[in-house]
Subunit: 194 residues, 2 copies
DNA sequence: AGAATGACAAAAGTTGAAATCTGTCATCTG
DNA sequence: CAGATGACAGATTTCAACTTTTGTCATTCT
């Protein structure tokens, strides 16, 4: 059948379209339903609330950055190179989204306000990867840290300026890349065995 | 005379009172004038705009944190202790203001939005002190960094979570102090000579 | 003179009534 | 019976009239 019944994925795609067109402040679930030519009640059969729909959109969107990061995780070079690459990839991915996906990025920022489950999972995923890189570095004798999980958190915090959406306004500054490099040096020297 | 004419300082004090009572969203210069029992036109004789008045209030307020930091700068112990103390003092000062001076802290956050001169100077002052500590550490042979100014910026950025008002919401979390300690370890190991 | 005033225009903010949206549900459709 | 519908109540948003605030300035005060 061309269109027997509405799927979760169709709704998500329509929601992305609507969010991109109207932005998070204006987009309504009526708009999403209209885009799909169904009643808004149908959308509510698949998502319990507008907030849940928004979160599902963001979950899918955030998974895109994960793909690039997963590629870095798959590498098997020295841990310091991997850590640097991972941070650079995260920064690049976030900056790209902030620049050429403004409306969805704004939706992401809005989510930040209401302590969302999705964001928490996203951060946990990132912290997990960091911990893995650091543990690996320790195993190879490259890094010397006392608690890899705590260090992962510290590295995450230290690099906040280059991945937290609250600092997105800074990402257009001329000096930002130099500053990123300087931070990487500090972090890498901070974990390196001596 | 008990009150010959209005001084800049009287206005600033009245403005602080008004800001504390009504908060930055509600406080008006008419309120400030009323508190002083003068017309609002008089306030405009001393400050060219409401924004300028707000900035002057913030300048005075930010200087308070500088006092504590200056005390740390005056010390002459090892540079690593000084750096740690400086970061801890900055964090403590900001957290204290966020907690028991909510309204003025909110005013400070509002200022952040409009790229204020005062904030820029505040940050430059902090960066200058950091650079001084780091240069001193290098001179003593304790630290090894290639460019103290760039490293100062990196240390500032790395510790953003513990002094930038945009992260104030996190400062109430239970784990925050452990996380601060872990970050300090990372930063100190990052600058230390090996 | 320097300092303060109050009247004024333009900008910003408030208010409340009307319109729209969210979320539920009894009913309908295949 | 799973999925879709549209009517509905309560919450939220919008819009326009109205009020307050900002910033200026000619005039007054000392």
């Amino acid at each position: 059948m061309t269109d027997g019944s509405l799927t979760r994925d169709q709704i998500l795609s329509a929601a992305v379209e609507v969010l991109r067109r109207y932005g998070p402040a204006k987009a309504t679930v009526v708009d999403v339903a209209r885009a799909l030519k169904v009643s808004h009640g149908s959308v509510y059969r698949h998502f319990p609330s507008k907030a849940a729909l928004r979160e599902a959109v963001m979950e899918r969107w955030l998974r895109e950055s994960h793909t690039l990061l997963d590629a870095v995780m798959a590498g098997d070079g020295p841990a310091d190179v991997r850590l640097r690459d991972w941070l650079a990839t995260l920064f690049a991915a976030k900056r790209k989204k902030a620049l050429d996906d403004e409306e969805l990025f704004a939706t992401y920022m809005a989510l930040l306000g209401d302590a969302s489950e999705v964001i928490e999972q996203h951060i946990d995923h990132l912290l997990g990867q960091l911990r893995e890189i650091i543990s690996d570095g320790v195993a190879r004798g490259e890094f010397a840290v006392q608690d890899p999980a705590a260090t992962a958190r510290a590295v995450f915090d230290a690099s906040l300026r280059f991945h937290s959406p609250v600092h997105a306004a800074d990402w257009g500054r001329a000096e930002i890349d130099e500053e990123f490099d300087a931070l990487c040096v500090l972090i890498l020297d901070g974990v390196r065995a001596r």
